[in-house]
C-alpha cells in the first residue's frame, strides 16, 4: 500500500491540489471566523488575483533572478487598460483582459530594455522608478477617473450571475489562474525556464551555453508583465473601481513578500504565499481588535492601528531567517520525510552508444571543412599586451595543446575564442567562417564548447539541469511550444534527458545526476563540466586546465578519457594545461606561448627539444625531462594551482 502510494505520489498531489482549488470557497468557510458571505469569497478572489502576480513575479525574480519593485505599476497598467476598454469602449470583459495582457506585456518588454544593462541595486532603482512613475502619469493624464472614487467599471462575472456575487466570480477567476499556472509550469520545465535559471546562476556560463542574455531577460520581463496585466484586469473587475494610489511601492513589496514566503523557485509557492498574505491579515485584524479591547478594558490606552505592518514585517523576517525555502520548501521537506520519493533505477545506459555514434558521424561529415584558424591575434589590456600576433591552426579531430608559463596568455586566447574578449587585432576562423566578432552565445551552436579553469557550473541546479542547459542551442522548441508543452516538446525533452544520461554514463558519473555540483568534490565537478560541454554535441572542445587539482591516477584516467572523446565522438580538443607529462603524452601538436608571444610549435618531441622553450621554462627544465619519475615518487602530488590570467 505504502509502495503504491509513493509511486502515485505525483498524481495524488495533483488530485489533492485540483480538489482544493475547486472547493476552496467551501474550505474557506470552514476556517473559524469566516462566514459564507461575499466578503469571505472576495478575500479568496484577491488571493487568486495575487497568485497570478506571484506566479509572474516568481518567473522573473525567482527563476530569472531579475528583481522587480515595479510590479504594482504593471498591475496598474493592466487595471486601467481593462477598465478603459471594457467600460470606456464597451468591450466584453474577457476581451479587455486579453488586451490588458498584451498591452502590459508590451510595457514589460519596454521595461526590460534598461534592465538589459543594469543589475543589482541599479536594476532595483529602475523598477522602483517605473512603479512610482506609473500612478503619477495615470493621475496626470486624468483619463476617466471620477474624483476620489476613481474609475468605476461594471464587475464581470460568469454569464447569468449577479455582478456582486463573489462566489460565482471565484469560478470565473479560477480557470484563468489555472491556465496561467499551467503555462508558467511548462515554461519552468522546458528550455526557456532553464535559460532563466542559467542567467540567474551565472551570466558567464549562461552565455557560454548559448543562452542569449538579452533575449531571455526580455522574455522573462514580457511574460511576467503579461501575467501581471491579467491580474490587473481581474483586480479592477473584482473591486469595480480603481484609483491610481492603490498601486504603490508597498504593493510591489507585498508581491515580493508573497513569493518569498511561498518559496522563490516554486510556482505553487506563489499561490500558497498569496493565500497566506490575504487570509492572515484578516485574522490579525480581528486579533488586534480583540487585544485592543482587552487592553483598553485593563485601563491601557493603546492604539493597535494598522497591524498589517507589524505582521508583514515579522512574517518576512521569520521566513527569511528560519524558513528560507518558504512554504513550498517546508511542504516538500514534509513530503520527503513521510513519503520519500521512489528511487529511480537507471539501468543499461552505458551499453547504449547511439549518441557517440551519432555525434561521430555528424562530426566526420565536417572533417572536410577547415578546422580552427587563428590569424595574428593580438589582445591588449591597457598598456599590457596579453597576446601578441599569435597564429595557430587546428584540424578537425586533432588534439592540440597550448602551453606556457603563468601569465603567458593562454586563457586569454580561450576567452577570445569564446568571445568574452574582443581581440584588438587578428582574425578567428572556424570551419571557414569568421567568428571574431560573433557574440559568446553563438559559439556552442557553431560547435565550439568549452570548460573553465575555475569552473563555471550552475552550482545550485542539479547535474541533470546543468546538462540540459548544455543542450540549449540544440533544442528546437519555441517559446510557444514550450509554454503549451506540445507533444513534440515533450518528446524533445525526453530525448534530451536520455542524452544527458548517456553522457553521464560515458563519463562514469551517473550517480551524480540529481545532485548539485556545489556539493561534489572538485574532480567530479570538472567531469560534470566536461559532460556539459560534451552533451552539446560540439566539434571542438576548449579545455582550460582539465587536470588542475587532480592527482596522478586521475590525470592518467583523464588523458584516456580525452583520447576516447576524440576517437569515439570525433571531437577536436584544444587544451591549456600546466602538467607537462599530461600534455606531452596526449597532444599531437603543441603551441608554446611566453609573455603573449608564440615561441615554438610542433610535435611534443620537437617542442621539448626547442632551446627557446627550455629558456622560457628555465629552472623547470628538470620537470620536462624527469617528470615521469618524479611523479611516481609522489603519488599524492597535486598539480599547480589554477593560473591567474
Amino acid at each position: 500500500m505504502q509502495q503504491t502510494f509513493n509511486q502515485n505520489r505525483k498524481w495524488i498531489g495533483y488530485g489533492l491540489r485540483t480538489g482544493m482549488a475547486l472547493f476552496a470557497p467551501f474550505l474557506m468557510i470552514l476556517i473559524p471566523g469566516f462566514e459564507a458571505n461575499n466578503y469571505t469569497y472576495s478575500i479568496l478572489n484577491f488571493a487568486m488575483i495575487y497568485s497570478i502576480v506571484g506566479i509572474g513575479l516568481s518567473l522573473l525574480t525567482g527563476y530569472a533572478g531579475q528583481i522587480s519593485l515595479g510590479h504594482s505599476g504593471l498591475m496598474a497598467i493592466g487595471a486601467y487598460t481593462a477598465a478603459q476598454t471594457s467600460t470606456g469602449f464597451g468591450m466584453p470583459f474577457f476581451i479587455s483582459m486579453l488586451i490588458a495582457m498584451v498591452f502590459t506585456g508590451f510595457i514589460g518588454f519596454l521595461l526590460a530594455l534598461p534592465a538589459l544593462r543594469l543589475s543589482g541595486p541599479y536594476l532595483a532603482v529602475a523598477t522602483v522608478g517605473f512603479g512610482v512613475a506609473v500612478p503619477q502619469i495615470i493621475k496626470y493624464l486624468n483619463f476617466r477617473t471620477e474624483g476620489i472614487e476613481g474609475l468605476k467599471i461594471v464587475k464581470p462575472n460568469l454569464p447569468g450571475f449577479d455582478p456582486e456575487n463573489d462566489l460565482a466570480r471565484y469560478y470565473m477567476i479560477l480557470p484563468i489562474v489555472a491556465i496561467v499556472f499551467f503555462v508558467a509550469t511548462n515554461i519552468t520545465r522546458t528550455k526557456v525556464g532553464r535559460a532563466f535559471l542559467a542567467i540567474r546562476e551565472t551570466e558567464i556560463a549562461a552565455q557560454a551555453m548559448g543562452v542569449g542574455l538579452a533575449r531571455y531577460k526580455v522574455i522573462a520581463f514580457t511574460i511576467s508583465a503579461a501575467m501581471t496585466g491579467i491580474a490587473g484586469a481581474l483586480y479592477v473587475g473584482q473591486i469595480g473601481r480603481i484609483s491610481a494610489e492603490e498601486f504603490n511601492l508597498l504593493q510591489s513589496i507585498l508581491f515580493l513578500v508573497i513569493i518569498a514566503i511561498g518559496g522563490l523557485n516554486t510556482l505553487g509557492g506563489a499561490v500558497a504565499g498569496a493565500l497566506l498574505m490575504t487570509i492572515l491579515p484578516e485574522f490579525v485584524n480581528r486579533l488586534s481588535n480583540f487585544l485592543q479591547e482587552s487592553l483598553n478594558n485593563a485601563g491601557l490606552n493603546v492604539q493597535l492601528k494598522n497591524p498589517q505592518y507589524v505582521l508583514y514585517g515579522l512574517l518576512i523576517i521569520l521566513f527569511v531567517m528560519f524558513l528560507p525555502e518558504g512554504l513550498a520548501g517546508a511542504w516538500r521537506r514534509f513530503m520527503n520525510r513521510f513519503f520519500p520519493e521512489p528511487v529511480e533505477v537507471i539501468s543499461g545506459l552505458s551499453a547504449d552508444h547511439s549518441l557517440q555514434e551519432q555525434i561521430r558521424v555528424e562530426n566526420i561529415e565536417q572533417q572536410a571543412k577547415p578546422g580552427l584558424e587563428i590569424k595574428n591575434l593580438t589582445m591588449r589590456f591597457g598598456g599590457i599586451t596579453a597576446v601578441s600576433d599569435f597564429s595557430m591552426t587546428l584540424k578537425p579531430g586533432e588534439i592540440v595543446g597550448l602551453i606556457g608559463p603563468n601569465g603567458a596568455g593562454k586563457t586569454t586566447v580561450f576567452n577570445c575564442l569564446s568571445s568574452f574578449y574582443r581581440p584588438n587585432e587578428g582574425q578567428l576562423m572556424w570551419e571557414g567562417k569568421d567568428i571574431t566578432n560573433q557574440p559568446p552565445q553563438y559559439k556552442l551552436k557553431g560547435g565550439i564548447a568549452r570548460t573553465f579553469q575555475n569552473l563555471e557550473l550552475f552550482k545550485n541546479l542539479t547535474v541533470m539541469e546543468n546538462l540540459l542547459i548544455g543542450q540549449h542551442p540544440r533544442l528546437k522548441q519555441s517559446l510557444f511550444s514550450s509554454m503549451l508543452l506540445t507533444p513534440a516538446t515533450r518528446r524533445e525533452e525526453k530525448v534530451a534527458r536520455q542524452r544527458a544520461r548517456e553522457i553521464l554514463a560515458f563519463l562514469e558519473i551517473s550517480d551524480t545526476e540529481n545532485m548539485r555540483p556545489g556539493s561534489l568534490p572538485f574532480g567530479k565537478q570538472k567531469r560534470v563540466e566536461l559532460a556539459r560541454a560534451l552533451v552539446s554535441r560540439p566539434r571542438l572542445i576548449l579545455l582550460d586546465e582539465p587536470a588542475a587539482g587532480a592527482n596522478n591516477r586521475e590525470t592518467a584516467d583523464l588523458a584516456k578519457l580525452i583520447r576516447r572523446i576524440r576517437d569515439e565522438f570525433g571531437i577536436a580538443i584544444l587544451l591549456v594545461e600546466h602538467d607537462m607529462s599530461f600534455v606531452m603524452n596526449l597532444c599531437e601538436r603543441l603551441y608554446v606561448l611566453d609573455f603573449g608571444k608564440k615561441i615554438a610549435e610542433g610535435t611534443p618531441e620537437k617542442v621539448q627539444a626547442d632551446p627557446a622553450v627550455i629558456e622560457a621554462y628555465l629552472g623547470e627544465r628538470e620537470e620536462l625531462v624527469d617528470s615521469e619519475e618524479e611523479r611516481n615518487n609522489n603519488e599524492a602530488t597535486t598539480k599547480s594551482a589554477p593560473e591567474r590570467t
Partner: protein
C-alpha cells in the same frame, strides 16, 4: 502655480529652486551615504534605512516630549540609540544571512523596515507630530532668495559630515581598514582587520547618519511612521545615480537629485516630479550602468 512664478524675477525663481533643492538634496545625500557605507561593507542594499532613521527620530521625540529633555540631549540620545539599532540589526539579522541569497538579504531589511513602521505606529500612532528645528530665527536672505534657517542647517550639516567622513576614511586607521575591507574582505582579514566588528561598525555609523537626516527633515514633514518612505526611495535613487559604491557619488547624487526634483517641480510639473526625476536617473544609468562615479566589477574567467 505657474502664474505666480511668472511674476517673479526668473533668476530668483531659479535660485530659490536651487536652494530648496540643495536643502532636500543634503538630506538625500546623508541617507544615501548610509546606504553606500552598508553596501560597501556587507554587499546589501538596506531597505530599512529610512525606517531606522524614522525610529531614531521618534526616540529623540520621546526624549523631548515625554522626558522634557533639551534638544541637544535628545539629539545625542537618538544618535546613541541609532548606533545600537544599527549594530543590533547587523548582529541579529544580517550576520546570520551572510551566505544567503541577495534577495533574502534584501527581504530581511524590507521586513525590518515594515516592522519598525508598525511598532512606531503602535507606540506613537500614525498621526503627524510637530518636531522642533534645531535652530530657529529669521530666515537668511540672499538677494530676494529666502533661505530658511533649517535649510541652512541641513546644507551645513551635510557639508560638515561629508568632510568628517572624508577625513575618517582618508586618515584614520579604522577608516583605512574599512576601505581595504570594501575592496577585498579576505585580504583585509589576513592583514589582521577584524572585519566582523568593522561591518557592525558601519551599520552603526550608517544608522546614525540616517538618524541625523531624520531629525533634520522631521520639522519639515511632521514626525510620523511613514515620513521617511519618500526620502528613503529618493536616497536610494540618489545613491544609484552617484554610483552605489562611491561615497562622493552618494553626496553628488543626493544633491543632484534634490536639485533635479525641485527644478522639475518649479518648471515642468509638480505632479510628475518623481516621474521626471526617475526618468533622468534611468537615462543616466542606461548610459552609465554603474552610476556617475561607481566602478565596474567584472568577473574574470
Amino acid at each position: 502655480m505657474m502664474s505666480v512664478v511668472a511674476q517673479i524675477d526668473p533668476l530668483v525663481t531659479f535660485g530659490q529652486a536651487l536652494v530648496n533643492g540643495l536643502a532636500f538634496g543634503s538630506i538625500y545625500a546623508l541617507v544615501a551615504l548610509g546606504l553606500v557605507l552598508i553596501f560597501k561593507s556587507s554587499d546589501i542594499v538596506n531597505f530599512a534605512n529610512g525606517e531606522m532613521a524614522m525610529f531614531s527620530t521618534f526616540i529623540a521625540f520621546a526624549f523631548l516630549d515625554a522626558l522634557k529633555m533639551p534638544y541637544w540631549v535628545s539629539f545625542l540620545g537618538a544618535l546613541v540609540f541609532a548606533a545600537f539599532l544599527g549594530a543590533g540589526t547587523e548582529l541579529v539579522l544580517i550576520r546570520p544571512l551572510r551566505k544567503a541569497s541577495p534577495l533574502s538579504q534584501v527581504l530581511v531589511t524590507i521586513g525590518l523596515g515594515t516592522l519598525l513602521t508598525g511598532i512606531a505606529g503602535w507606540v506613537w500612532t500614525f498621526e503627524g507630530k510637530p518636531f522642533p528645528d534645531a535652530i530657529t530665527g529669521a530666515p537668511a536672505k540672499l538677494g530676494s532668495i529666502i533661505i530658511k534657517q533649517g535649510d541652512l542647517l541641513r546644507i551645513g550639516v551635510a557639508i560638515v559630515i561629508a568632510f568628517l567622513l572624508y577625513i575618517f576614511f582618508r586618515y584614520t586607521m579604522i577608516g583605512i581598514a574599512l576601505r581595504g575591507m570594501a575592496q577585498n574582505t579576505l585580504a583585509a582579514r589576513l592583514m589582521g582587520v577584524n572585519t566582523e566588528r568593522m561591518t557592525t561598525l558601519t551599520w552603526a555609523l550608517s544608522t546614525m547618519l540616517g538618524a541625523i537626516a531624520g531629525m533634520l527633515i522631521a520639522p519639515n514633514t511632521f514626525l510620523e511612521p511613514l515620513m521617511m518612505a519618500d526620502v528613503a526611495i529618493k536616497a536610494f535613487a540618489a545613491a544609484v545615480l552617484g554610483g552605489f559604491t562611491s561615497m562622493p557619488g552618494a553626496v553628488l547624487g543626493g544633491l543632484a537629485l534634490g536639485v533635479i526634483d525641485n527644478m522639475v517641480g518649479t518648471y515642468l510639473s509638480q505632479e510628475l516630479r518623481s516621474t521626471f526625476a526617475f526618468a533622468v536617473i534611468i537615462g543616466v544609468l542606461v548610459i552609465k550602468p554603474n552610476g556617475l562615479l561607481g566602478t565596474t566589477v567584472k568577473k574574470k574567467v
